[in-house]
C-alpha cells in the first residue's frame, strides 16, 4: 500500500514525535509513505472561519498534487484530515464548488484521490490481527484511555468513526495487549487553539478531560491528533500551578508511539522522550523501556 504522506505543519515542529513514530509504524506495516512535494498548510480552523472558499482551496492544492501521482493521501493530524476530507467531499459533490476551488488553486483536483487519517490506515486497514502478530512487546495490561477529540469523528460524513463512542483506538490498545478503559469523554473537545489564544477557557476543557481520565483509573492517554496531544501534554503543569488540588501526571502518547514500542522499536526512537509529562515511569512499570 502506498500513500501520499501529508505531515502537516505541526508534525514538523510541535508534533515531531507523531511524525517519527508514524514513519516507524509505516515501516513495520509495509506502508510506503511518499511525502507530498511542496505541500502547503491546510489552514486548520483559522482558514475556514475566515474565508470559506479558502478553507476548501488550501487542502485542495495538496490533494491536486497527490492526484497527479495517483496516490491517496494519509494525514496523521486530525485537523488536516478533517479539512482535506471536507474539501474532498465538497469538490466531489458539486461541480460548481470544484470549478471555484480549481479557480482559486489554479490546479485541477478531479476528486479521483481521497484522504485517510493515520488511524484508518494503520489500524482499520491494517487490521487488528496484523497488529497482534507484529506485537513483540505487549503493553502488559497498561490502563489506557483512548482520546479521539472531535475532528476525527465529526461531522458525520467527514469523521470516520462513531461520533459518540468510537472504538478504533480502543481496539488497537487491546490488540497491543493494553487495557482500553471505557470513559465518557472520548470525543469531548480539547479546545484546539483556545488553550493558547484564550487560556482561561481552553484550560478548563483540558482540566475536565484529564480529571475524568484520572477518575476512571487511566495510567496514560493515547490520542491521534498533535493539537490534542499538545494541549493535554503541555498544559498539565500549567493546570497543576494554576488550579488548586490539581495534580496531573498523566503521560500522553500518540497511538503510533505505542504501536512502534509494541512492535519492538526503542521508545526514544519513537520520540517519547520529547514529551512534557514524563513517560518513563509508566513505560518502566510495564517494562517497555
Amino acid at each position: 500500500m502506498k500513500y501520499a504522506y501529508y505531515p502537516g505543519c505541526s508534525l514538523h515542529s510541535t508534533g515531531i514525535e507523531y511524525d517519527m513514530s508514524s514513519q516507524l509504524v509505516a515501516g513495520k506495516l509495509g506502508v510506503e509513505l511518499k511525502e507530498i512535494p511542496d505541500w502547503n498548510c491546510c489552514g486548520a480552523s483559522a482558514g475556514h472561519t475566515t474565508n470559506h472558499l479558502l478553507g476548501l482551496a488550501l487542502p485542495a492544492r495538496n490533494l491536486a498534487i497527490a492526484e497527479k501521482e495517483g496516490l491517496d493521501v494519509m494525514a496523521p493530524c486530525a485537523s488536516c484530515y478533517n479539512r482535506m476530507k471536507t474539501s474532498e467531499v465538497a469538490v466531489k459533490s458539486s461541480q460548481e464548488t470544484k470549478a471555484r476551488v480549481a479557480e482559486v488553486t489554479e490546479m485541477e483536483y478531479e476528486g479521483k484521490v481521497g484522504v485517510k487519517s493515520a488511524l484508518e490506515v494503520f489500524v482499520k486497514d491494517a487490521g487488528l490481527d496484523t497488529i497482534k502478530s507484529l506485537t513483540v512487546k505487549n503493553l502488559g495490561g497498561m490502563k489506557i484511555a483512548a482520546y479521539y477529540g472531535c475532528l476525527l469523528v465529526r461531522p458525520v460524513g467527514i469523521g470516520f468513526d462513531d461520533p459518540e463512542n468510537p472504538m478504533t483506538m480502543d481496539d488497537m490498545v487491546t490488540a497491543l495487549g493494553g487495557e482500553a478503559v471505557d470513559w465518557p469523554f472520548k470525543t469531548e473537545c480539547c479546545g484546539a487553539s483556545l488553550p493558547t489564544a484564550r487560556e482561561k477557557v481552553g484550560l478548563k476543557l483540558v482540566y475536565d478531560i484529564l480529571t475524568i481520565a484520572q477518575s476512571v483509573g487511566a495510567e496514560a492517554v493515547v490520542t491521534a491528533c498533535p493539537l490534542c496531544f499538545m494541549n493535554l501534554d503541555m498544559r498539565q503543569n500549567d493546570l497543576n500551578k494554576k488550579v488548586d488540588n490539581a495534580n496531573f501526571h498523566l503521560p500522553i502518547f500518540y497511538f503510533t508511539e505505542l504501536m512502534a514500542i509494541a512492535f519492538g522499536e526503542k521508545p526514544a526512537k519513537a520520540g517519547v522522550g520529547k514529551h512534557f509529562v514524563d513517560t518513563s515511569s509508566v513505560l518502566a512499570k510495564y517494562n517497555l523501556k
Partner: protein, 659 residues
C-alpha cells in the same frame, strides 16, 4: 341522444377564485348531448342539490355531471341527490375542478381551460353510463378484535353488550396489554390494575366474548360482512381445559428468564404467566428457554402438575372463522433509545425508560413497589427525567410528538416525591403539553406541591461518573448550561408502532403511514374507520394516544362495528365486473387474476350448429367482486367489463381529454 345536465360549483371562492365557472358552464353547453349547464355557489348544499333536482325535472335530464370537488368527497352526496330525484344514481359523473384544478393552478386562464377539459371528459363518460343496481349480501353477525389491550377489551365489551359475539385475538399469553404494566394512571392517580383487571374479568366472563390468547391473525380473506380469517393458535404446551392456574408448575420450574413484562428488571420462569392477575390465568411454556425443549431433559412442570395439563407435544393450531367486522387495536411499542450515543447507547443500567420505571413503582413489580435503581438496588435521591426521547427528533427518532410523555413524566415525578422522602426530581422538557381535562392542574401540582424542578432544554449528554450519572443540559430560559449529578435517569421514550404493524396492515389490506401507524379513513371526519370497509381502528395503533383517548376511540370503533352488524343485509357496490357470455371463450385467465376469488367457471348449454352443446364460460359472483377491474385487462377478447368503469367509458374519457 342523451339529455345531460352540467352543474358547475363555485365552492365559495375555492373554485371560482381561480376558475371562470361561468365560462366553464357556457362551454359545457356546446358539448355533445349536453342540454343544460349552470353554475351555483355551493352545489353540495341543500339549495345546490335542489337546483339539480329542479333542472332534472324541468329539462327532463337523464344524465348529470357535477363539476366541483373530489368524487372521494361528495360522490355519495350527489348520488343520493339523484336518487331522491328519481334517477338511477349511477348515471352521474364528477369533474374534480377543485383539488385537481383550482387549488393547484393559480393561472386563471389555464385553470379554466383545464376545468373545461375535465368537464368535457366527465360529459363524455356520463353519456356511456348505464343504470346499475346494488345487490345485497348477507352479513356474518360476528366481530373480531385484534389486540387485547384496554382498547381491545373496551371494544369487545361494547360489541358484546350490543348482543353480537366477539372474538379477541391477543398475541401475548394474557389480555391487558401495555396498561397492565402501568402502576398508576393520570390524572387521577388511581391504580391501573384496579381499573383494568375488572374489565379483563368482565371480558373473560361475558357470554358473547371469546378470548384467543397467545394467538395471531394469519390470513384475512373476503370483504366487509364476509371476512374469513385464519387464526394461528400458538402452542401453549398447556391444555387450557385441564389447567386450573394453581401455579405449582411455575413454582417448581428451575429455569429463570428475564421477564419481558417486567422490562427485564425481574425474572420469570420458563413456564409462566406474565403477571399474577393474567386473564386467562393459564401459563405458557417459553419453548426457546425451556430446557425440555432445548435438550429433552427436565419436564418437572409435567410431573408436578396436579391435573396433567402440561403437554409438550401440543402443536400450533390453525382455525378459520367467518366474521362481519374487524377492529384493530394492537397498541404500540416503546421507542428503542439505544440509537442515542449521547445517552450511552442504552448501556448505562441506571438510565431506564418510562415503562421500566412503571415496573419499579408497581407493587406487583420486581421491587415490590420500592424504587430501587437497577445497578445496585440503592434508593435514588436525585432522579432526572428526560422528555422527548425519540419524539420530535427527525435526526435519530420520530418527527411527531408522542402526546402522553408530559403527563406520565409528571406522574412519575409525583410518585418519586411520594415514595422517596427527601428525594429531588428534575424534568428536562421542551414544551409541557398537558391539554386533557384536569391535566394542566395535575402538572401544576407536580411543580408546586411535589417540588419537581422543571428545566426547559434538551439533554445533550448523559455519562457515568463514579456511581453518579452526569446529565448535561441547558436551562434555555436563563440561557445557561446546567449539569446535574443524578442517581437515576428516566427517559420518556416515544410511542412507536409495533414492529409487525406493516405486515398486519398488508394482511388486512389497510394502509399505513411512514411511521407504520394505521391510516384512518379521514383524520377529522372518520378517525376510527379505514379505507377498507369493515375494518375499524381503536387506540394507539392508529397514532400515539393515552388511555382516555384510546377508550373513547374503542367506544367509537365498537359503535361503527355494531352499526354494520346490526344490518340484516348489506348492499354491495354496484361497481362490479360483468361477463358477456356470448363472446367468452372460457379460457379462465381471469380466474387466476381475481384477488377475491369472485370468478369461477360455469357450464352453459346452447344451440350451436343445429344441436345443443355445452360450453364453459366465466361467471362473476357479484357479492364477492369488489370492482378492482384487474380481470377486465387480462381478458383479451374484452368480454369482461367493469360496470361504472367500462372500456367504452374510459376510451370515451381518453378521447375527450385528448381533443
Amino acid at each position: 341522444m342523451r339529455r345531460v345536465g352540467v352543474f358547475v360549483c363555485h365552492c365559495g371562492s375555492n373554485i371560482a377564485g381561480t376558475v371562470d365557472v361561468e365560462r366553464v358552464a357556457k362551454e359545457a353547453c356546446k358539448f355533445p348531448n349536453v342540454v343544460f349547464a349552470t353554475d351555483y355557489k355551493y352545489m353540495c348544499s341543500e339549495p345546490g342539490q335542489q337546483v339539480i333536482k329542479d333542472a332534472i325535472k324541468e329539462h327532463n335530464l337523464d344524465r348529470v355531471v357535477v363539476a366541483s370537488c373530489s368524487p372521494r368527497m361528495h360522490e355519495p352526496t350527489f348520488r343520493r341527490c339523484l336518487e331522491s330525484a328519481g334517477m338511477n344514481p349511477y348515471l352521474f359523473e364528477m369533474a374534480n375542478i377543485r383539488e385537481h384544478c383550482s387549488w393547484v393552478h393559480p393561472d386563471k386562464e389555464k385553470g379554466t381551460v383545464k376545468a373545461i377539459d375535465l368537464v368535457r371528459k366527465a360529459a363524455a363518460k356520463v353519456v356511456k353510463d348505464e343504470p346499475l343496481q346494488k345487490s345485497s349480501i348477507g352479513i356474518t353477525k360476528r366481530a373480531l378484535v385484534i389486540g387485547g389491550g384496554i382498547a381491545g377489551i373496551q371494544v369487545a365489551l361494547d360489541i358484546a353488550d350490543a348482543g353480537f359475539p366477539v372474538t379477541i385475538v391477543e398475541k401475548e399469553p394474557t389480555i391487558g396489554g401495555r396498561m397492565a404494566q402501568i402502576d398508576k394512571t393520570f390524572p387521577t392517580l388511581d391504580c391501573s390494575a384496579c381499573i383494568l383487571t375488572p374489565k379483563m374479568v368482565d371480558a373473560s366472563q361475558h357470554p358473547n366474548i371469546e378470548i384467543l390468547s397467545y394467538s395471531e391473525v394469519e390470513k384475512v380473506e373476503g370483504y366487509v360482512g364476509n371476512f374469513n380469517i385464519t387464526i394461528r393458535k400458538k402452542a401453549r404446551s398447556v391444555d387450557m381445559s385441564k389447567c386450573t392456574g394453581c401455579g405449582t408448575c411455575w413454582e417448581k420450574c428451575p429455569t429463570k428468564v428475564d421477564s419481558e413484562f417486567d422490562m427485564g428488571l425481574g425474572k420469570r420462569k420458563a413456564i409462566y404467566t406474565p403477571f399474577p392477575q393474567a386473564v386467562p390465568n393459564k401459563p405458557v411454556i417459553d419453548r426457546i428457554h425451556c430446557t425440555k425443549f432445548k435438550n429433552g431433559k427436565c419436564g418437572i412442570c409435567q410431573k408436578f402438575c396436579p391435573t396433567g395439563a402440561v403437554d409438550f407435544e401440543q402443536q400450533d393450531e390453525l382455525i378459520t372463522e367467518k366474521y362481519g367486522a374487524i377492529v384493530v387495536s394492537t397498541g404500540f411499542n416503546q421507542f428503542d433509545h439505544s440509537v442515542y450515543g449521547e445517552y450511552g447507547y442504552g448501556k448505562y443500567p441506571d438510565v431506564i425508560t418510562g415503562l421500566h420505571f412503571e415496573r419499579l413503582i408497581n407493587a406487583s413489580g420486581p421491587t415490590m413497589g420500592k424504587i430501587k435503581r437497577p445497578s445496585d438496588h440503592k434508593i435514588p435521591e436525585t432522579v432526572v427525567f428526560v422528555k422527548c426521547v425519540g419524539s420530535r427528533d427527525e435526526a435519530k427518532g420520530k418527527s411527531y410528538c408522542s402526546r402522553t410523555c408530559c403527563m406520565y413524566t409528571a406522574k412519575h415525578a409525583t410518585l418519586v416525591h411520594e415514595k422517596i422522602p427527601g428525594s429531588k426530581s428534575y424534568i428536562f422538557y421542551m414544551d409541557v403539553r398537558t391539554p386533557g381535562k384536569g391535566y394542566e392542574e395535575f402538572y401544576k401540582r407536580t411543580a408546586e406541591e411535589y417540588e419537581a424542578q422543571y428545566i426547559r432544554g434538551r439533554v445533550s449528554k448523559i455519562y457515568q461518573k463514579g456511581d453518579k450519572l452526569m446529565v448535561r443540559g441547558e436551562d434555555s430560559l436563563i440561557g445557561r448550561p446546567v449539569e446535574i449529578e443524578a442517581d437515576m435517569v428516566v427517559l420518556a421514550n416515544a410511542m412507536v408502532a409495533r414492529e409487525d404493524a406493516g405486515d398486519l396492515a398488508r394482511t388486512l389490506g389497510i394502509s399505513y403511514d411512514k411511521d407504520n401507524f394505521f391510516t384512518e379513513a379521514h383524520p377529522k371526519l372518520r378517525p376510527v374507520e379505514t379505507h377498507t370497509a369493515g375494518v375499524f381502528l381503536a387506540g394507539a395503533c392508529q397514532g400515539p394516544k393515552d388511555i382516555p383517548d384510546s377508550v373513547a376511540q374503542a367506544g367509537a370503533a365498537a359503535s361503527k362495528a355494531i352499526g354494520l352488524l346490526s344490518k340484516t343485509q348489506m348492499e354491495s357496490d354496484a361497481i362490479v365486473s360483468n361477463v358477456d357470455e356470448s363472446r367468452c371463450s372460457g379460457c379462465m385467465i381471469c380466474k387466476g387474476i381475481c384477488p377475491y376469488k369472485a370468478i369461477d367457471a360455469k357450464i352453459i348449454t346452447e344451440r350451436i350448429g343445429g344441436k345443443m352443446a355445452e360450453r364453459q364460460v366465466a361467471e362473476v359472483n357479484k357479492s364477492l367482486c369488489q370492482g378492482c377491474g384487474a380481470c377486465t385487462v387480462a381478458c383479451r377478447a374484452g368480454c369482461l367489463n367493469l360496470l361504472g368503469f367500462t372500456n367504452e367509458q374510459i376510451l370515451a374519457e381518453v378521447e375527450a381529454v385528448c381533443l
